[in-house]
Symmetry: C2
Subunit: 334 residues, 2 copies
DNA sequence: CTGTTAGCGCTTTCAC
DNA sequence: GTGAAAGCGCTAACAG
């Protein structure tokens, strides 16, 4: 067993068959006798032969690697999602390119172009920041697109989602039930599917609680700590009676926490705060953050599993949305 | 400008030159007349021609993509490092495979094997968990290995480091100066270069402060929240008088914080705690965490820049270690 | 400075 | 069921 890289030819010669028989065998494709297959497999294993993904990619016009594009790898939500996804992929022997779009649509489009050039055929797109039309178009350019938390659907595109609306609905209901009357909402990016669904849940929750939706209480922020802090300034300049804030995600909510402190508001005495995601730090910040919990690793695993299944020719069954769960901590006043 | 993918041949035909002239031009290689080069470039651009990274990889036996391997993408230190690194690479037009080894040496070795199969020629290895001998061997199997925070050096391998020892030395000195007498240390993985340097800094700090090193006060933990919590149990079972703990990194320190609280110790009244990294959450946990700050994005950028420079044939100049900086917050008692 | 000839290691297509 | 031929799109190694 030399240290050299072997090729199909070496294996073919050794097995006394043609190149193609080895190729077919390695790809588990039909057209090879049971006995031949077994022998080829055995010999390949003994020689330590591993097909070259690069050569395969060139010949088949389809790379063996996959891609995942996300807006901000520094947000624990995405890094945990990505970790789960790449781990799932590794378990099935595939490497994945992670592309960070920095919340910028232009970089996101460049990411797709780049992945196509690499002949990547399957992608997990987490929280796209592209307008529906463009995203649908981009997704269609891949053989196996999997969209996480997107409103964009279509033939040939798989969706893996969280029931954002229900989650926020519950959060709003809880706050109203606790007597809060001026519940503000710090929304995420306009093109984000979950941002839209969360806003919908917010409005539905208010309606169910008999409170009229006040546009003044809805602001949009960049989903990071900085964005959360700024949103507080905007909010308080519009309506000083705010007694609760729900933020698009935890990282934003943490910014809200700090912004409110800077503004001298007590939490939760003056203002209750609830985030979304339950990143590990939500439980550790001061005050600890109430949040709409999402099983992030499960979401990442599901998305990558869907992608791998599609690649293997299985049909994708959407399965139920992931159900988020309201976790009450200090920031919402128990 | 059709929507089709063009090949070198199309460009060559259009420009009335040979295949090779186009190839040389696209790679900025010598052997092409100034005028010809300009014309080819112009035509290629007009046609929207982009060389196929896959074909290139096959022909040159060297993929255009790079790799980064790290132990835990869920640790903000690594996700922020990775983000900075992939952003730097994207700026130069290259995609990178991120491989998460889950702190497991066996997965790390598998990662290298897998990257070699993809014909990846350059890798950034952040915080390897492999014994020096093996790591050196693995590194040598790549054209451009860049090791971050590793003790392993060698011809052809680039190192990007943080002055861990100085950072911990300062932390220990501070604690001793504040009157703490039983300073424990929760070390990181045995094979980690920074773990070793940090332990060295700890011992040096004690020595400088005239305190004898007590092996009972040094425990090793898996560098995550869970590991930090457990280390407290181990530590307190050995020596109840501990009045300060320095942890290998912030994520571990946060675990220590929780562990101490669970044990009924006041922070910083009974025990002072200091971490390393200054991940964004260090300032947000309760009590806020004092830490030895590292400029994480800069570290990631440096590593990837070194890799890209090596790839481009430039010589790597180590440059000075990144200097960490002690940041005092509540957990160390001001 | 430029072009020609061989592949890189596999899959595709079409024979048998 | 199996194999031979013809590339995939590019670069290496020579030749001029």
């Amino acid at each position: 067993m030399s240290k050299e890289r072997h090729t199909v030819e070496d294996v073919a010669r050794e097995a006394g068959v043609s190149l193609m028989t080895v190729s077919r065998t390695m790809n588990g494709r039909p057209g090879v006798g049971e006995e031949t297959r077994r022998r080829v497999l055995e010999i390949a294993a003994r020689m330590g032969y591993r097909p070259s993904p690069v050569a395969r990619g060139l010949a088949s016009r389809r790379a063996s690697s996959l891609g995942i594009v996300l807006p901000d790898l520094a947000n624990p939500f995405f890094s945990i999602l990505a970790k789960a996804a790449v781990d799932e992929a590794r378990g099935r022997g595939v490497n994945v390119f992670i592309i960070n779009t920095d919340e910028r649509p232009s970089l996101e489009r460049a990411a797709y172009a780049s992945l196509r050039e690499e002949r990547i055929a399957g992608v997990v797109v987490a929280a796209s920041r592209l307008p529906a039309r463009h995203l649908r178009e981009e997704a269609a350019s891949f053989d196996w697109p999997v969209l996480v938390n997107s409103l964009v659907t279509g033939a040939g595109i798989a969706n893996v989602d969280v029931d954002d609306e229900a989650g926020i609905f519950e959060a709003v209901s809880h706050l109203l039930g606790a007597g809060r009357r001026h519940v503000a909402f710090v929304a995420g990016p306009r093109e984000s599917g979950s941002a839209r669904r969360r806003v919908a849940g917010y409005k539905a929750g208010l309606a169910a609680g008999g409170i009229a939706f006040d546009p003044e209480l809805l602001v949009r922020a960049k989903p990071d700590i900085e964005g959360g802090m700024r949103s507080v300034v905007a909010l308080l300049s519009r309506e000083r009676r705010i007694d609760a804030v729900i933020a698009h995600n935890d990282i934003t909510a943490i910014g809200v926490l700090r912004g409110l402190e800077a503004a001298g508001r007590g939490i939760p005495s003056d203002v209750a705060v609830i985030g979304v995601d339950d990143i590990p730090y939500a439980a550790l910040v001061r005050p600890s953050l109430s949040t709409v919990r999402i099983d992030i690793p499960e979401l990442g695993r599901r998305a990558m599993a869907a992608l791998l299944d599609l690649r293997d020719g299985k049909v994708f069954e959407p399965g139920p949305c992931l159900r988020p769960e309201l976790v009450l901590r200090e920031s919402s006043g128990g």
